[in-house]
């Protein structure tokens, strides 16, 4: 088993991070590779179902969010005005999966539920754009999982411990590495993509309104997906991260433990502490069964 990103890249050699992760999983569990791949293919189908569910235009019980994935879908179908290719769809699917999550739908945490839109957003959009098979996307999920395992073991992946940088930041690093490999990048390029994506999200607090995984979580997932795409494009162009990925991960951890508890999933500081955030909190926390607001 690899302990950090540099070992992961070293073990990949001329091969892929996905391949190293699959080998390591087979070795540690004693299970056949086919069985492991088949379980990962199931996770991909859960991701696809949650994206489709979100595209229906779900509204959360709280009244705080919903319907945005549908708006994006219509906008893209008419021809998005600024960007093209996989980019607007990555944003669209990230929002869709997170709206399904806020609606208490069935999702695949990656690495957490709050950040579950980033990875499917990036990979499903890239799948359509590049014309990749489900098998190829399933393998890309192993690459994402490898990066996530290193971050989870060497830093943290919960907003309560490390803020949003630990959730959406980690998801963005995972997605950046996975989509880099999917697009034909090397293991080293994937590691650079992960480092760049995580660097761009350092310091991000976990500050959702009324403690719900809705605002700003859903749009932050879209931001994480966009950031992962930007990082992957840079890495594929041959750009390197000046600070190695393992040092970025350690930095994320140190920033997390120094972050005030009010910014770590307690619905107190950051956006949760704005007049709007406080208003929603008193509205939703006093009511036992929140009603949608006009």
């Amino acid at each position: 088993m690899f302990r950090n990103i540099s070992e992961l890249v070293e073990q990949a050699g001329d091969g892929s991070i996905s391949g190293v992760m699959l080998e390591a999983e087979a070795e540690s569990t004693g299970k056949a590779k086919e069985e492991i791949i088949s379980r990962m293919a199931d996770q991909l189908q859960v991701m696809k179902r949650s994206a489709r569910e979100g595209l229906q235009g779900l509204r959360a019980r709280s009244g705080l969010c919903g319907g945005d994935a549908l708006l994006l879908d219509r906008y893209i179908q008419k021809g998005s005005r600024l960007t093209g290719g996989a980019f607007p769809r990555a944003v669209n699917y990230a929002v869709a999966v997170n709206e399904a999550n806020a609606h208490m739908g069935i999702i695949c945490a990656s690495p957490t539920a709050g950040a579950c839109g980033v990875l499917p957003g990036v990979l499903l959009a890239a799948q359509e754009h590049l014309g990749k098979s489900d098998e190829a996307i399933t393998m890309a999920l192993f690459c994402a999982g490898a990066v996530g395992l290193v971050i989870a073991n060497n830093a943290c992946i919960s907003g309560a411990q490390g803020g949003c940088q630990a959730e959406v930041g980690s998801a963005a690093a995972m997605a950046a590495a996975a989509v880099t490999e999917l697009a034909g990048g090397t293991a080293e390029q994937a590691a650079n993509a992960a480092a760049i994506a995580l660097k761009n999200m350092l310091g991000l607090p976990c500050d959702p309104l009324a403690g719900l995984v809705e605002v700003p979580c859903i749009k932050r997932n879209a931001g994480g997906a966009a950031n992962a795409m930007a990082a992957a494009e840079m890495a594929l162009a041959g750009i390197k991260s000046m600070v190695p990925c393992d040092e970025v991960i350690e930095t994320m951890y140190r920033i997390g433990i120094n972050m005030s508890p009010s910014l770590r999933e307690t619905a107190q500081g950051g956006l949760a502490g704005t007049p709007t955030g406080r208003r929603w909190k008193s509205l939703l926390w006093e009511n036992e069964s929140p009603q949608p607001q006009p």
Partner: protein, 220 residues
């Protein structure tokens, strides 16, 4: 390493909205129920730290109760846990606590029925992974990822050896083991996580050993 499998990261498949505050809470509920060994008549859930502040918004209360009721992680029935508990005549209390816990996502579960009561505390460490940190006042570290034995026994020499000898004879491999003593007299708790499930006859044999008070099995 806290996380071992790729599916700890790409997973679990779960009901939203939060892996630590919803899925983790279901899991702590499942483990507490498994340790209690039967459906309780009364449940009290104590929320600490981030759980205390946001348990309604993340449905941590509903999720933990669903866990105690043994509803699976990806079952939409989790949403109806409160109604299911009241149908079954189980009384439920939710208590947000002010005390600052060692870990921000801490949940204490108290379960009881006519035959007895038990308390168990768990922490949710992210991505749906949990650790049990306390059972009936004894501190421990239990991931719930492997089968486990919790053996309450008299703090006397030879007791641990008598148990490990039975495991060796049953060809059971230990992957983690720890012993803690409470300040409540002479009782100690041995926690043994094993690679294989321990057969009922081995457990029976353990119960017959000198100085063994109670053996709780956690079958995963």
């Amino acid at each position: 390493m806290k996380y071992r499998s790729v599916f700890d990261i790409i997973g679990p498949v779960m009901l939203g909205p939060s892996s630590s505050h919803t899925a983790g809470a279901v899991r702590i509920g499942h483990l507490a129920r498994a340790l209690f060994g039967r459906e309780p008549r009364a449940v009290t859930l104590h929320f600490f730290g981030s759980f205390a502040k946001t348990f309604r918004g993340h449905a941590t209360d509903v999720a933990a109760l669903a866990g105690v009721l043994n509803i699976p992680m990806d079952d939409p029935d989790i949403r109806n846990a409160a109604a299911i508990a009241s149908e079954r005549g189980i009384s439920v209390a939710y208590v947000p606590e002010d005390a600052v816990p060692a870990h921000p996502n801490t949940l204490k579960v108290e379960l009881s029925d006519d035959a007895g009561s038990m308390s168990a505390t768990g922490i949710s460490i992210g991505g749906g992974m949990v650790q049990m940190t306390e059972v009936d006042g004894f501190s421990l570290r239990l991931s719930g990822e492997s089968p486990a034995l919790l053996i309450f026994h008299k703090d006397a020499y030879g007791t641990i050896a008598s148990i490990t000898r039975l495991l060796a004879e049953g060809c059971i491999n230990i992957n983690h083991m720890e012993v803690s003593r409470s300040d409540r007299g002479q009782t100690a708790l041995m926690v043994i996580e094993t690679d294989e499930q321990v057969a009922p006859e081995v457990i029976e044999n353990m119960n017959r050993q000198k100085n063994i008070y109670k053996v709780i099995t956690l079958n995963i």
